[in-house]
């Protein structure tokens, strides 16, 4: 070649698209309740599993979850991890705990934060409760629950996690 050409390795083509996103009918019902300070799930009419947060169907059975179930503030730790690295825009100082918690009355866990705890003492089966933000700050948002904190109740055996009634361990 008579002339060396610079090799093009990058073409910049940014994509901006605008959407009017909707959460869905079932998530909208859930969000309307959480704005009122109530944690709800939805029950599958076929297998009775209670989903939280509900997405509209029971993924196992493929049917709509219509019945709304009010869940407890108490929950059980199904799994957890201790985060040691800072996450951009996250105001929480590491190390902190992210846990999979199952509220009493539900059969599916969701991810939330834990606080007011000794990180090293957190364990699977530990009992926790939701600590809500002040009422005036409630919005259509999962972080109306600020975090979960440990409570003084006996551990839930692993095979019972996700199976407690809304009345809890003694129920």
């Amino acid at each position: 070649m008579s002339e060396e050409q610079e090799v093009v390795t990058v073409v910049k083509a940014p994509v901006y698209l605008k959407y009017n996103f909707t959460a869905g009918a079932a998530p909208a019902r859930f969000l309307a309740q959480i704005k009122k300070g109530v944690l709800t799930g939805q029950r599958c009419p076929k297998c009775s599993a209670v989903y939280v947060p509900p997405r509209g169907s029971c993924g196992g059975c493929g049917v709509a979850t219509e019945e709304e179930v009010v869940l407890s503030n108490k929950a059980t730790v199904q799994s957890f991890t201790i985060v040691y690295i800072p996450i951009p825009n996250n105001p929480i100082e590491p190390p902190y705990i992210i846990a999979n918690v199952v509220p009493d009355g539900a059969n599916i866990s969701f991810i939330h934060l834990m606080s007011e705890c000794v990180n090293e003492d957190v364990h699977i089966g530990a009992r926790v409760e939701a600590v809500w933000k002040p009422k005036e700050e409630w919005d259509f948002a999962m972080d109306n629950i600020r975090y979960y904190r440990p409570i003084d109740e006996p551990n839930v055996p692993v095979d019972q996690i996700g199976k407690l009634p809304v009345t809890g361990l003694e129920g």
Partner: protein, 352 residues
């Protein structure tokens, strides 16, 4: 080779805005309705499942995975997905059955196009180096195509208006249609230009909805004891993504696909053509050589409602419905993908 039949088909209403429902909520009613039609419980009762959708439509990453929540996938099922119209999910399912990996399949397509600006969203399916960065929208490209045809004297604006008029009138008998009415060609011509030479009526509407189909080997269809129509041929062909390199006034790929699918082996009583723009119906019917013996788009076609990623499957379903009702014995369905009819699929259906 195993003969494959369509045993069930359902389509939702085509609506301009499905409101607050999410993908699962949009799909579930259509699926339960097609399960009921065939007399099965859920996706556990078919050998394979394949869906067609595009996450760009509603701007929700992995929307297609959320769709699986409508299936009843516990215990695990054999499942696949195409980021295309579900007509291509049907194609994949047919291959699966022909290979002997399944005896039956559920196919579904869904699209919630209302949350985004569809013509702009579609610009991002263009070639990423030269065209997508220009944001050329799907309507502008179709307008260029229509302009070529008008200037070459291949069509007139009245020809286009006649396509629209027939679509609106036929759609009066389609309970799922979004746009229907006793509209005369002169009414269409009286409309103002939207994107010259296209009037709004020349362009399919933006729609939300879903459709679902169940296919099976003929043996399985007989076991289920439901009416069925035979898929006697299916083929798809694609042309270059470079719009300047192909004749936009013709559809070579459609013609080839129809030939390979065996369209010419018998009379074509009905043809459902996926033509999102009025002039494209003319391109397609000419490419296929359809004459007076063929009824084109008796459902109203997609000018009456265009469920992105489901409309192609619905064209096939519409022909299936007419065969099992005894209205016709043989027909073809066409599906398209890409700008200006780039990629085309033709299915031939026959009475059992």
């Amino acid at each position: 080779m195993k003969e494959i039949a369509i045993v069930g088909f359902k389509q939702s209403d085509s609506v301009s805005d499905a409101g607050a429902v999410n993908e699962v909520e949009m799909i579930m009613p259509v699926l339960s309705s097609v399960f009921q039609q065939v007399g099965i419980n859920n996706a556990q009762d078919v050998g394979f499942v394949c869906s067609g959708s595009c996450d760009y439509l509603q701007g929700a990453a992995f929307a297609f995975v959320a769709g699986v929540d409508a299936l009843g996938a516990v215990p695990p099922i054999k499942e696949s997905h195409v980021e295309m119209d579900a007509a291509w999910a049907l194609y994949e399912s047919i291959l699966k059955i022909r290979m002997g990996h399944a005896e039956s399949a559920l196919i579904y397509g869904f699209g919630k196009s209302s949350p985004g600006e569809l013509p702009i969203v579609m610009s991002q399916q263009l070639d990423p180096y030269y065209l997508a960065p220009l944001w050329v929208d799907s309507i502008s490209l179709a307008a260029l195509q229509a302009r070529l045809m008008l200037d070459q004297g291949l069509i007139t604006e009245r020809d286009m208006a006649e396509v629209v008029s027939r679509s609106r009138r036929n759609a009066m008998n389609n309970p799922h249609a979004q746009l229907a009415g006793d509209v005369a060609p002169d009414d269409v011509l009286a409309e103002e230009m939207y994107l010259s030479p296209l009037r709004k009526a020349d362009i399919c509407p933006v729609s939300d909805g879903a459709s679902a189909m169940i296919i099976a080997t003929v043996d399985k269809a007989k076991e289920w004891g439901v009416p069925y129509a035979i898929i006697s041929g299916i083929d798809h062909r694609i042309e270059t993504h470079n719009l300047g390199m192909r004749d936009l006034t013709d559809s070579v790929s459609t013609r080839t696909a129809a030939k390979r699918a065996g369209m010419d082996a018998g009379k074509v009583e009905v043809a459902e053509l996926y033509a999102p723009f009025s002039h494209q119906e003319i391109i397609l019917s000419r490419a296929l050589g359809l004459g007076d013996e063929t009824r084109i788009n008796p459902s109203g076609g997609v000018l009456a409602g265009n469920l992105m990623m489901a409309s192609g499957l619905s064209r096939i379903g519409e022909v299936f419905n007419r065969i099992v009702s005894g209205e016709v014995q043989r027909g073809i369905a066409h599906a398209t993908s890409g700008p200006c009819l780039q990629h085309n699929l033709v299915t031939v259906l026959e009475k059992a």
